[in-house]
């Protein structure tokens, strides 16, 4: 694969830039803050003999709830071998972090922290792309939790997005963290596969999202059989 200056519209730079999105979401994502890759302006690829392949990128990232953008530099190092772990990313979006979401986070946290009725939702978004307004923060939380998986699973031959939340269920609050079980569906654009993951994750305003457990679920073959429907 070619090294040196990359065409920012071509797949190499685009795939590496998407990994930066996942990284930023793991670091600073919240029910009220979500990062999206907006544009890739330039990219450069270096083959580092011992460590792996390093992408240097200039990208624009959008914070999708406040609809603000920031241009930033980022680097992504894909290790040469899988045993060396997942991609190493260096990036920060200081401007976007200045958007004040403290009030919303606190209100949301208090609303669900001591709740008698634990929240549970299926299929976010639904088949028609709908998400109830009060479920949106849970959709955002699930995307952030998924980003941990997508960051871990990403390499030069993948391009991940979260396709859908099959199920997100609130568990009892533990150590002042809201706690959830999630069944999420990831879409890898390159293979076109839908990959099922089970996650257990927590969130609080000071701690952010932490993933306690993640487990890939096997492809369900019998689920493909013709259903009894018209």
């Amino acid at each position: 694969m070619a090294t040196g200056e990359l065409n920012p519209n071509h797949y190499q730079a685009q795939r590496a830039a998407k990994v930066v999105q996942h990284y930023l979401n793991t670091r600073n994502g919240s029910p009220f803050r979500l990062f999206r890759l907006s544009r890739v302006h330039s990219g450069n690829l270096e083959d580092l003999v011992d460590s792996g392949r390093k992408y240097q990128l200039e990208i624009t990232v959008k914070e999708s709830i406040s609809n603000t953008t920031e241009k930033l530099s980022a680097s992504v190092l894909f290790p040469r071998e899988e045993r060396q772990g997942s991609a190493q990313v260096q990036a920060s979006c200081d401007e976007l972090l200045k958007v004040n979401i403290t009030a919303q986070e606190e209100a949301f946290y208090q609303q669900y922290k001591n709740s008698q009725n634990l929240v549970s939702a299926q299929y976010l978004p639904d088949s028609h792309g709908r998400i109830d307004d009060d479920m949106r923060p849970f959709w955002h939380l699930s995307i952030v939790a998924s980003s941990f998986v997508m960051l871990k699973e990403s390499n030069e031959n993948t391009l991940y997005n979260m396709a859908q939340v099959a199920n997100v269920t609130q568990l009892a609050t533990e150590n002042d963290q809201l706690k959830f079980d999630g069944h999420i569906l990831l879409h890898d654009m390159v293979s076109q596969e839908i990959i099922h993951w089970k996650l257990q994750f927590t969130w609080s305003p000071p701690e952010g999202v932490k993933v306690l457990q993640m487990e890939q679920l096997p492809h369900c073959h019998h689920c493909e059989k013709p259903q009894n429907s018209n």
Binding site: N7, N9, H10, Y11, Q14, K18, R36, L37, R39, S64, Q122, Y123, P125, D126, S127, H128, G129, R130, N161, A163, Q164, A166, L185, H187, M189, V190, S191, Q192, E193, I194, H219, H221, H222, C223, E224, K225, P226, Q227, S229
Partner: protein, 359 residues
């Protein structure tokens, strides 16, 4: 008494008659199940009998009839043609929505736009709203089937899974790159090139008319891309430069509508290498302007694009498609018109000069 009842009957029938003329307007900005799309096709044909006919051109694996709308002025002569198909991949619901919108737009434009009137005189539009009908219907069955991609033919003996990726099944470098031979995978290319009845239907219909077709546009989602042939990195289309130029013009047109950025390039450059696509097959038949459209979005909602985005997604895609179609039309027809006009002037001048000389 008898005549009063009769009068009431007449009034009642008039009221009912008036009510049935008031049909519900089709909502182009909601997703429709297959049965409603089929009904819509019949309605479009009924409302535009001089311009629209329905053609059945194949059967799906589950024996459903695959149909298209043929739209154009009936000149009685052989005409050039534009092909558009939507819904090769079941989960890409915005694509069939776009085909329906496209049909509505060109029929609307025909009423008032002289350019569309000219194009419909010179060309026929062949639009298949849903090619992979079995897969589309399966994706509507329940929440857990929504993300189905392939058709619904069973796997080969020894493999439990269903479906072949129709966009890897065409006879264009079939089975060489960007495919899987595992029937459980999303890019399973089938047991042979063109093993699938849906791919056969397109191949037979377009193949037997290939000299007529100027454009072959196949509509997908998501990713906001305009893809040129070929999917195989070792092959370059003979008119690559022209395709890039036209593609970039289409992306410009798209951006002007709602500011959305669509990337233009070959699959191996901007997305991934692949083989057996309908776009590659049609380019190999000699159809000059063949593009894959990957519509909104960029991964936020992915395949489950919210219904409030159907309108803007369709508006921008229409602009892009029209750019390509108009280019193809003008290259084929205005050149001929200019030549005919030039010939006429030459004849007139010659007659003038000759008659002057005789005087």
């Amino acid at each position: 008494m008898h005549s009063c009842v009769g009068l009431s009957c007449v009034l009642l029938l008039t009221v009912i008659g008036a009510a049935t003329v008031e049909r519900a307007e089709y909502d182009y900005f909601k997703y429709h199940p297959m049965s409603e799309i089929t009904g819509w096709m019949a309605q479009i044909q009924k409302e535009n009998p001089d311009l629209v006919s329905i053609m059945d051109y194949g059967k799906t694996y589950e024996k459903r009839t695959i149909s298209l709308l043929k739209i154009g002025v009936n000149t009685g002569e052989k005409k050039k043609a534009i092909w558009m198909d939507c819904g090769i991949h079941a989960r890409e619901w915005i694509a069939p929505a776009f085909c329906q919108y496209f049909v509505r737009q060109i029929l609307d434009a025909y009423k008032k736009d002289p350019k569309m009137q000219e194009m419909m005189k010179n060309m026929d539009f062949y639009v298949t709203p849903v090619l992979n009908m079995d897969g589309y219907i399966f994706s509507w069955a329940n929440d857990s089937t929504r993300l189905w991609r392939k058709n619904r033919s069973p796997g080969p003996a020894g493999c439990d899974c269903y479906g072949t990726d129709l966009n890897r099944n065409f006879d264009a470098n079939w089975g060489t790159i960007g495919v899987s031979f595992n029937c459980c995978d999303q890019t399973y290319c089938g047991k042979d090139a063109m093993s699938e009845p849906e791919a056969q239907a397109v191949t037979f219909f377009v193949g037997t008319r290939k000299e007529d077709f100027l454009c072959f546009l196949t509509i997908h989602s998501y990713g906001q891309l305009l893809l040129l042939p070929y999917g195989h990195p070792n092959f370059t289309a003979p008119n690559y430069d022209e395709l890039m130029k036209v593609g970039l013009a289409a992306a410009d047109a798209i951006k002007k509508v709602h500011g959305m950025h669509y990337t233009v390039g070959t699959s191996p450059d901007v997305l991934y290498p692949n083989s057996g696509s309908s776009r590659d097959w049609s380019r190999m038949q000699g159809i000059p302007y063949t593009f894959t459209f990957e519509l909104r979005d960029n991964g936020t909602y992915g395949f489950e694009l919210p219904e409030d985005q159907i309108k803007p997604a369709c508006e921008e895609a229409y602009s892009g498609a029209l750019e390509i179609i108009t280019y193809a039309h003008n290259k084929t027809f205005n050149g001929a018109v200019a030549t005919a006009a030039a010939t006429l002037w030459t004849v007139l001048l010659t007659v003038c000069v000759t008659s002057t000389n005789l005087m």
